[in-house]
Every structure is written in C-alpha cells, then in structure tokens.
C-alpha cells in the first residue's frame, strides 16, 4: 500500500530521494529548540482563527448607533468596525472564543519569537553560516510586532484608538518627513480619512501575513539547507557530524504533539481567560481616553520608552527637528533592532572569528557575548518594566514620578553592572569546570597509581 503510493508519487514527481532525505533529516534533541516551533504553531492558529474573524469583521468607520444584544452599549454612537467586533463577541456563536484565542495566539506568537531570538543570541546560533536565518527571524519579529499592533487597532475600541493616536504621533515625530508621512498614511491629521481603516485591514489580513509566511518559508528552508545547530553533549557531536532524532518516525509525533499542545493551550486561554474585553472600553473618540491603559505586552517596551524620555523637543530656530515621541517610539526600537541586526557582524569583527559554527556555545563559553547580551537586554527590559509604573503606583502606592526617575537612572546604570556580573559568573563557571576536570583526572590517576603499587 505505502510502497504503491510512494511509487506513484515518485514516478510523477521524482521526489523519492528528497522525501527519503526529509524523513531522515536529524533534529538535535533539546527543549530550547522547540521555542521556534511554538512560534510556528501559534502562527498557524493565528491564520486559522484570523480567517474566521474576517468572515464577520467590517472595516467601516461610518457612524452607527448600536442596537445589539450587549445592553450597556445600547444606543451609543460607534463605528461599524467597533460594532462588528462587539457583534463577534456577543452575537456570533463561538465568535468570542475565536477572537480571544486569536488575541492570545498573537501574544504567544511574539513571546515565542522573542524567547527563540534570545536562545539564538546567547548560544551563538546566528554565527556563520546562519546569519541569513537570523536576519529573517528578526524581520519576522518586526513584522509580527506591527501585525499585532494593527490587529489591536482594527477593533476601534477606546484603547485601540489611543494606541493609534500614539502611533500617529510617532509617525509625525520623524524628522523632516513626519507630517508628510502622516498625511500620506492617514490621509490627513489624526484620526484620518475613512480609507485608513481599509489600509490597516488589508495590511493586517493580507500584506503582513503573506510577508511573514514568505519569510517563514525561507527561514525554514535555510535551517534545513544548513541543518540545525547542536549542543556539544558528548563525543559524537562535532562541527562535522550532527546527532539527532530523524523526522520520521522520531520527531513527527513530538512535533505534532507540540502543535496540538500549543493549540490546546491557546483555545483553553481563549475560552477561559478573558483578554481585551473591548465592550468594556467603549468606542473611541479623539476626545476620550482612559487611565491605567496597558497595551499588549509586546508593546510595553515602547510605552515605557515614550514615558521615560524627559520633556524636550529638539528645536533649531523654530524648526522642530526632533519632536519628543521620536526618541521613545522610533529611535529606541531603531537602536534595539539595529544592534540585533548588526550583532553577528560586530562579533565577527571583534573576535576575528570567521569560521563555520555548527556547535552551539553555552552562554558561559562566550563570556564577552553573554555580558554584552545581558547588559543590552537588561536595558530593554528595564524600559519595558517602566511601562508598568502607573500600575505599580496603583497596586503598591509608589509615587509615579519617583519611579520614573528611578527607571531613568536604572536604565543607564544597571546595564554595565549586570553585564559585569554576567561576565564574572561566566568566568567563575568556566573556572569551576576546569577545577572539576582537574580533580577528576587527579583522582583517577591516584587510583591508578595505588593499583599499580598494589600489584607491584
């Protein structure tokens, strides 16, 4: 049966050698290699649930009066877009489940990419010959951030409108071209022309998903062409020999198991854990806002950066060169991503290491990289945490202004300190290993010497 099928397929496509190689492709077995897979599966869930949502969503911004089943909003003015999302939540059977699963999947998607990126960074997996794979991954992270922001904005509730206002201000703050860019994208000053929602919609459901899917395909192709990296866990793993579980039969049930587990967790979250109850926020108006608003977690670093910058615009003789939101909303992510994009090249320059690397470093094996990475991500993380200062104020009654000053100092002072600590820890771990190795060797020699003495 299976032989007949394979034969028929091979005769028509000539793909038997390729399939054979694919089935026996080796996957090194380490939990951290699953983070990228989680991102992949979250993307699958996002596409599936997203397609369902498009069957009910409308991008219209025409003002309508709500007469649906959710009583507190009865009689309120809102856009067609917001009404359609409220209807998805209340009138479409299973609509709320799918909407919430879609939202959770987006949060998990970006989280998995971020953790995957950290794993790749701290193990040196991006080194030659895998720089392209790494850059594609970073680009996908950028696309995912934008994609998430657009999805959040399409609901047109109060919070998404506030997010859009901030996005518009960041666009306007770009030196020399900000207002022109804003006029182009929004069709004028915020909140812009009606077409703006259609633009967001096509970007969210078509342009960016297709971009991500394409990058994903090339990313995976490059992984397969160069094979996975691996940790050195025994004498069998070398720079030239890969050790792992073959796609079939070993890896297939593992990967399918992970896919179903990701799907299961996301649907459980979508059903049981409320996320973004847009009917509570109400419709957006340019003159409305609410306190204690928090964006999805992956935009927290930008909120934090926007809040930390002290009050100043860079002005030269009446010409506003750099309006304030540029620093936190554009310059900060630009610096972070520029550093990440340049890092493989920077490291190669500094270390002069131009060799092929199939074996991964443990973080301690490369103390310099680990220290720089720890310092860098401490900086980003502190800015991220600063975004929650208003919640901390409410929860623990710690003055908001004092917190902002503390974060301003900490964001500058902490990175060198954590970098130094990370460097020392790496060195100590290395030294500890050498001592351990020496002791084992000495003990073995002592035992051998005693045996030698006894026999003599």
């Amino acid at each position: 049966m299976i032989r007949r099928l394979v034969r028929a397929l091979d005769q028509r496509s000539g793909s038997a050698p390729f399939i054979r190689k694919t089935l026996r492709y080796l996957f090194p077995d380490h939990w951290s290699f699953l983070l990228g897979e989680v991102a992949l599966y979250a993307f699958v869930i996002l596409v599936a649930t997203g397609v369902y949502l498009t069957l009910f969503y409308t991008d219209g911004t025409t003002d309508v009066v709500y007469h649906g089943s959710y009583v507190p909003l009865q009689g309120q003015h809102m856009t067609e877009a917001y009404r359609s999302v409220v209807n998805i939540s209340f009138s479409v059977k299973a609509g709320l489940l799918i909407r919430q699963t879609h939202h959770w999947a987006a949060d998990v998607f970006v989280a998995a990419i971020t953790l995957h990126m950290l794993r790749v960074f701290f193990t040196g997996a991006y080194r030659k010959p895998r720089e392209l794979t790494y850059w594609l991954g970073l680009t996908m992270l950028l696309a995912a951030l934008l994609e998430g922001y657009l999805g959040y904005s399409l609901a047109d509730d109060l919070l998404s409108g506030m997010g859009l206002a901030i996005g518009n201000a960041v666009a306007l703050s770009i030196p020399f071209v900000g207002a022109n860019l804003g006029a182009l994208i929004w069709g004028g000053p915020f909140p812009g022309k009606h077409e703006f929602f259609a633009r967001m919609y096509v970007a969210h459901v078509f342009l960016l998903p297709v971009l991500i899917a394409t990058l994903l395909a090339v990313h995976l192709l490059l992984v397969a062409l160069r094979h996975h990296t691996q940790f050195k866990r025994g004498p069998r793993e070398t720079e030239r020999k890969i050790v792992g579980v073959p796609t079939f039969p070993g890896q297939t049930p593992r990967s399918l198991g992970l896919f179903f587990a990701v799907a299961g967790v996301l649907f459980l979250l979508g059903g049981l854990a409320q996320i973004n109850p847009i009917w509570l926020w109400g419709p957006f108006h340019t003159f409305s806002s609410t306190n204690g608003a928090q964006p999805d977690w992956y935009l927290g670093w930008l909120i934090g950066a926007l809040r930390l910058v002290p009050s100043f615009d860079l002005v030269i003789g009446g010409y506003t060169l750099v309006p304030n939101p540029f620093w936190g909303g554009a310059a900060f992510p630009l610096i972070v991503f520029t550093f990440l994009y340049l890092w493989p090249w920077l490291e190669r320059r500094w270390s002069g290491d131009d060799a092929f690397h199939n074996l991964l470093d443990r973080p301690r094996d490369a103390p310099g990289r680990t220290a720089i990475g720890v310092g860098f991500f401490t900086w980003v993380f502190l800015v991220f945490v600063a975004g929650s200062a208003d919640r901390i104020d409410v929860l623990f009654n710690i003055s908001y202004t004092s917190q902002i000053w503390a974060y301003r100092v900490a964001a500058l002072a902490a990175p060198p300190i954590t970098a130094f600590i990370a460097y020392r820890v790496c060195r100590e771990l290395q030294a500890g290993e050498i001592v351990e190795r020496e002791r084992t060797r000495a003990e073995r020699e002592a035992v051998a010497a005693r045996r030698g003495a006894e026999t003599a």
Partner: protein, 335 residues
C-alpha cells in the same frame, strides 16, 4: 496423459503460492531494518487509545455545546472542550513519541561548507555570457536609469494615498472668535456652571468633534492662582481657562485633572494629565509642562463670556494643536 484431479491442482497451486510467498517473506525479514526494532509496549498503546477516546469525547462535546442555545458560560465550555480535545491528542502524540515510536539518535554529516567548483563555474558562466557586449558600463547605466525610473513610476500612484506635500491641514482648528463652547450634548456652557476642581470637555458649536483641533478642556481656577504669561494675558474669562484636550506629546486625550494616578490629596498645584504617558500640564501658567515627556506646552484657547453669560472663544489657539511635527513651531494655527 492422465487427467489431473482437482485435488492435485489445488495442492499444486497452494505449494506454488507458498513457495512464492515464503522466500519473499524471508528476504524481507532478513534485510537490515532501516528503522531499528524495539520491544512492544501494549500499556502505552492502551494509554494512547484512551487519550484518543477522551479527545473524541471532548470534540463531540464541543459540537454539542455549540448546538445548545442560551447556555450560560458557553464561551468557557467551548474553549474547555476544544482545548481539552487538542490537549488529549497532544498527550497521545507525546506518549507515542516517548514509548511507542522507535527512538533513534542518529548521526549524519553536516552539509559541505561550500562548493568551490560550482562557485567557479557560476562565475565563469556569468562572465563568459557577456563576451559579445562591448559597452558594459553604458548598458549598466542605461538599465539602471530605466529600472530606476520605472520603479519610481510604479510607486508614484502612492501619492494618491494622502496629501503628502501639503501639511497645512495640521494647523487647522475649527475655532474662531465668537464660536460658542458646547458640551457633549450640544448644549452651550454657561460660565457660572463651571466649578473649581472639576474638568469639563467642550466642543466648538456645530463642528466635527473628532477633529483634533475641536475638543478643549475647561477648568476654573481661583483668580489668585492664575499666573498667565504676557502672551496669554486676557485668555482667561472670570478664572475659567480652556486648553486643547489633545496632548502635545502623543495625541491622546487629556482626561485627568490634578495628578497622574496620585492620591487625590497629594501636594502640588492642579494639573492636567494625559493618561497615555502622564504628560502633566499646568493650567495656571498657560499649559506649561510640569512633568512627563511632552515637549511643548498645551495650546490655550482665549475665552470670553457673552451677554447671556455663555462661554465663547475669543480667537483661535495660541499654538497648533496635537502631537508635534517639524512645522509645529513655524506658525500659529489656521486663522
């Protein structure tokens, strides 16, 4: 020749069949296994079967829950049933991976680092292909000009998206001298109804409220507390001051009065606060920034009280409204 009896024919056929099958089977058994064999694990198989049965039940439960109407907690039950169905299948796969499927740790060669011969050939193919070309640089220049201008031509229609070269609309506001301030229901504000330590939102009568230049906040300060600079002298009317409601930092609405999330009793003068990034403005000094990231003061709207005691604008804002861009300090709002 004797006629063969049916029984003989049958025996002969069976023998032939057996002979045909036997060596084949033996050959198959004797070949080296591509995937190494392992011991059977009936317990694990039973577990997988149990998990698949549980998944089936959960999936059917999802359909049943979906079919029911007016079920309390339907979203939760739907999520629970489909989520558990997925998780049961996941568990079945994990059990299969750990205990049923042959686990190999194989070795393989990494692909060759590079292919110098192929690289060389590719280079030669490209080089040799141009042997008939005599003016390579000129051709490259021509191709670049054609390609570049075609590319430019193709992105030109993007200009239709919005007035990319005309940013004058960013200076626009609907406020004019004499325009009445109305509340959310379109009712004019009477000066006497504006009380101290409260925040009011007002709109220009008859204008589009969603326009950034429309909404203003109104507060009344004790006349002694007012400390307006020279440029804004006369902007207040009977202690009432009006500011653009749109934060000059990132364009959110200023909806907090006093201090950001601070306990109401915290010290400090009254302040207008935007909840997005907690830019804090001083209503007593024409909207100067007290704290937070805003890079310029809040635009102030001059007020007057008409003969009926209603609030009206005495002119336009003293600065353009909304988040800053390169031209925000080049001129005032539209007259």
């Amino acid at each position: 020749m004797a006629r063969a009896r049916p029984k003989d024919v049958l025996v002969a056929a069976l023998t032939l069949l057996a002979a045909r099958l036997q060596p084949g089977r033996r050959r198959r058994r004797m070949r080296e296994l591509t995937v190494p064999a392992g011991p059977p694990s009936p317990g694990a198989e039973l577990l997988v079967l149990g998990l698949l049965a549980a998944a089936t039940i959960c999936a059917v439960a999802f359909i049943v829950v979906y079919a029911l109407d007016r079920l309390p907690g339907q979203t939760q039950l739907l999520g629970l049933s489909i989520g558990l169905a997925f998780l049961c299948i996941a568990a079945a796969f994990v059990v299969a991976a750990k205990r049923l499927v042959v686990s190999e740790q194989n070795e393989d060669d990494y692909p060759a680092e590079e292919h110098p011969e192929e690289q060389e050939t590719i280079g030669e193919v490209v080089e040799d292909s141009g042997s008939r070309l005599t003016r390579k640089r000129l051709l490259t220049l021509g191709a670049a000009a054609a390609g570049g201008s075609l590319g430019l031509a193709l992105i030109t229609p993007a200009v239709s998206l919005g007035p990319v070269f005309d940013t004058s609309s960013f200076y626009g506001t609907p406020w004019r001298r004499g325009r009445r301030l109305v509340d959310e229901n379109g009712r004019p504000y009477h000066a006497s109804e504006i009380e101290e330590s409260a925040l009011y939102t007002a709109f220009p009568q008859g204008a589009d409220r969603e326009e950034l230049g429309s909404s203003v906040v109104l507060v009344r300060l004790p006349p002694a507390a007012l400390d307006l600079p020279h440029a804004n002298a006369g902007y207040a009317a009977d202690g009432i001051v009006a500011y653009s409601k749109i934060c000059t930092h990132a364009g959110c609405a200023i909806s907090l009065y006093r201090t950001p999330l601070f306990p109401p009793a915290s010290p400090g003068p009254p302040a207008l606060v935007c909840p997005c990034h907690y830019s804090t403005f001083d209503p007593a000094t024409a909207g100067t920034v007290l704290f937070g990231p805003a890079g310029r003061k809040l635009p102030m709207l001059p007020l007057l009280i008409d003969g009926r005691g209603d609030l009206r604008a005495a002119g336009n804002f003293d600065e353009p409204v909304g988040p800053s861009w390169w031209g925000v300090r080049l001129r005032g709002p539209n007259p």
